[in-house]
Symmetry: C2
Subunit: 229 residues, 2 copies
Amino acid sequence: MQLFYSSRIENSRIILNEEETRHAISVLRKVPGDVLHVIDGKGNLFKALINKVNKKETELEIQETKTYPKPEKEIHLVVAPTKNMDRMEWLLEKSIEIGLSSLSFIRCEHSERKQVNMERLEKIALAACKQSLTWHFPELNDIVPFKNYLQSVHPMQGFIAVCKDAESVLNKQTSLKEQVHLMIGPEGDFTEDEYMLAKSAGWIGLSLGNKRLRTETAALAGVVGLNFL
Amino acid sequence: MQLFYSSRIENSRIILNEEETRHAISVLRKVPGDVLHVIDGKGNLFKALINKVNKKETELEIQETKTYPKPEKEIHLVVAPTKNMDRMEWLLEKSIEIGLSSLSFIRCEHSERKQVNMERLEKIALAACKQSLTWHFPELNDIVPFKNYLQSVHPMQGFIAVCKDAESVLNKQTSLKEQVHLMIGPEGDFTEDEYMLAKSAGWIGLSLGNKRLRTETAALAGVVGLNFL
């Protein structure tokens, strides 16, 4: 099923933007009268008829609406992005396929990467959502300093991934709440100060096993583990 | 910890091949008397002293040996490789980081890719093993037709990933044996015939959830899930 995305849906009318129009009309050669499947990223899947087309936009008329409930589990991933952005891009793609509610970036003491290109990440996220039939788009949050993040977010259950001396290990016995945050440090790991700060803010040290995982592998393994457990 | 690999270990003597020698001597400027950490891929980590060096090989004398037990769980992944080989290469890297005992390739009815470059994959595997501190190297098996694979392997517990009508779902309730095989189909999925053939050979249809996962994502999610559960 080929999906299109629109943020402009009012009553029974959908407007596709220029990029989606180009794909539907120029690439796939759709014409007025054809039916498209459109998602809004908020749980709705519309079957809609093409009404009018011009170069800039496509207007459709909704025929049917199917609404999907939000996933029962909320998984919030918080990552210090790697120097090599490719690794973050695949993490984004893969974690959306698997399922997560939000991805937030943090800047830590040992972070080599200080910023991320949100526009590019949003495009990758949209493609991954369409490909994997993700009806509820995850929230993407631009990079903020670690301390600011800690001050602004108060998770129901927050885990901070650590390599040693973890209080908790992710396995079958882990008791998970319905909203879980998982924080993954940079390639040089969290500093001792950062770790203590997170702990004093209620975050729990979590081990993902005894292998030495790259940042993006740890993050993805966490997302998969939290989904299955 | 920087690791070197050798397949030539006899008594207390280790020989590094030309490539490992180049890395140790030309790149890292190690000299006789220096200590290297060497692995054999069979669970042993050696601390060894450089004795003699020439262009083709390095001879070391073992000082200490540490032997790691095999992981308790054996996870065998069987995959119909994707057309885009990059996706298989990252699957290999990531699944080694997470942990698996073997990766075998199969050629299915809907497979677009008929062969894989084993030499290249073995290099990637070696790098991933070193990076992730994987003491027991996984076995890599070249591509064989699906039917031949089914005839030659009789798993203790074999799952075949399917998108719908699965008999089993991977979650906290799944009861796993200590040796598990997981088979993942090509981009066009298994044919009905292939699925029935696997079922009659004792394989169990397994759902990895209700998302539409790419081949490599399904495979990796399976490996992570089997490790955590």
